[in-house]
Symmetry: C2
Subunit: 193 residues, 2 copies
Amino acid sequence: MARTKEFDPDAALQSAVELFWRRGYEATSMADLVGHLGIARASLYATFGSKHELYLKALQRYSEQHSPRIAEELSRPGPALPAVRGLVARFADEAADDELRRGCFVTNTAVELAPHDPAAARGVEESWLALEAALTAALTRAQEQGELPAGRDPVALARMLLVLMQGMRVVGKAVPGRARLQDAAAQALTLLE
Amino acid sequence: MARTKEFDPDAALQSAVELFWRRGYEATSMADLVGHLGIARASLYATFGSKHELYLKALQRYSEQHSPRIAEELSRPGPALPAVRGLVARFADEAADDELRRGCFVTNTAVELAPHDPAAARGVEESWLALEAALTAALTRAQEQGELPAGRDPVALARMLLVLMQGMRVVGKAVPGRARLQDAAAQALTLLE
DNA sequence: TTCATTCTTGACCGAACGTTCTCGAATCCG
DNA sequence: CGGATTCGAGAACGTTCGGTCAAGAATGAA
């Protein structure tokens, strides 16, 4: 057999996530990646294929790290509405506190790549479908448990929260300051009363 | 004196808006611009300075074309609430119908350039402040005219609508389909009842 | 120990990048 | 007309881009 890898592909992919997340696709060069990942150029290509493939794998990794956490948070037994409110509030906080100005990797991909990159668009839609489904399920459960009035539409509410959360990431990335995002979150959450 | 310009700088800038709007900053090359604007490379530099300056001028031009229209729509005499509702509904429609997948030039700039480009960030914040102010004024007027209950907070509602509108542009750009955006807009608008 | 295999390293590739320059032709003012 | 100026077209600038290749070091199976 042959020689074993000296670097950890998982750790390298994680570094790629951080770089692409912070700078986006076009503005990140392979030279940047080689420097930041600490592995040789050829090893990078041998392990991940191309810049585009590496980006898609980084996006997938990001989703795998964040989506389950959100789904778990929203499906925990007990009252469902506080979980939804907490999630939205946390999004507003994270978006406002975003010192590295990274925003959300998925949102960034939606703006920069999705319109002309079918594979990237698929990754974005997957993330959004998962988030929408988790929110819908939680809101439906809240309704069944009497936390949310019967007249409300869980699907429509989930969609409105999904769209709002994308906006929060965009606004927080471009302009510092928490007042705007906290007002926005607070107003949206009055729809859940 | 010298020879007069043979091309129309205004029309050239408009072409630059369309190209940058559709493809973003990094993904648009000077060669693309030269081809699309129909003017010589040297003339482009003589007239607009650099790629970065051209982008900033294109962003400014975009804002000058869109902001006044929105402000006018929201400040028209008569009932104020229908104007707000109409604006949000129009945003949802435009975002969902975005066949060129351009999104909003300001939103795109917020994601791609604002985090590391102070001049671009200033342009984004200007647009958002103008939109937020116009929405706040309209909602305040609606309250004075008895269209909106007295307890509501016009500033917070305006911020929530601003953030939601950014999200709509992002979602519409990445994923076709109107159901999600129309649900989102409809839910948000119930806050204005 | 030998040998096939796969790793790392770093030089290297052609193409594309943003920008500047040269050029002759065209235009205006005096 | 003459001299100044700007035009279009394109060559050329040095740099950086994404991607490849050749050579040697390191490894595990026999």
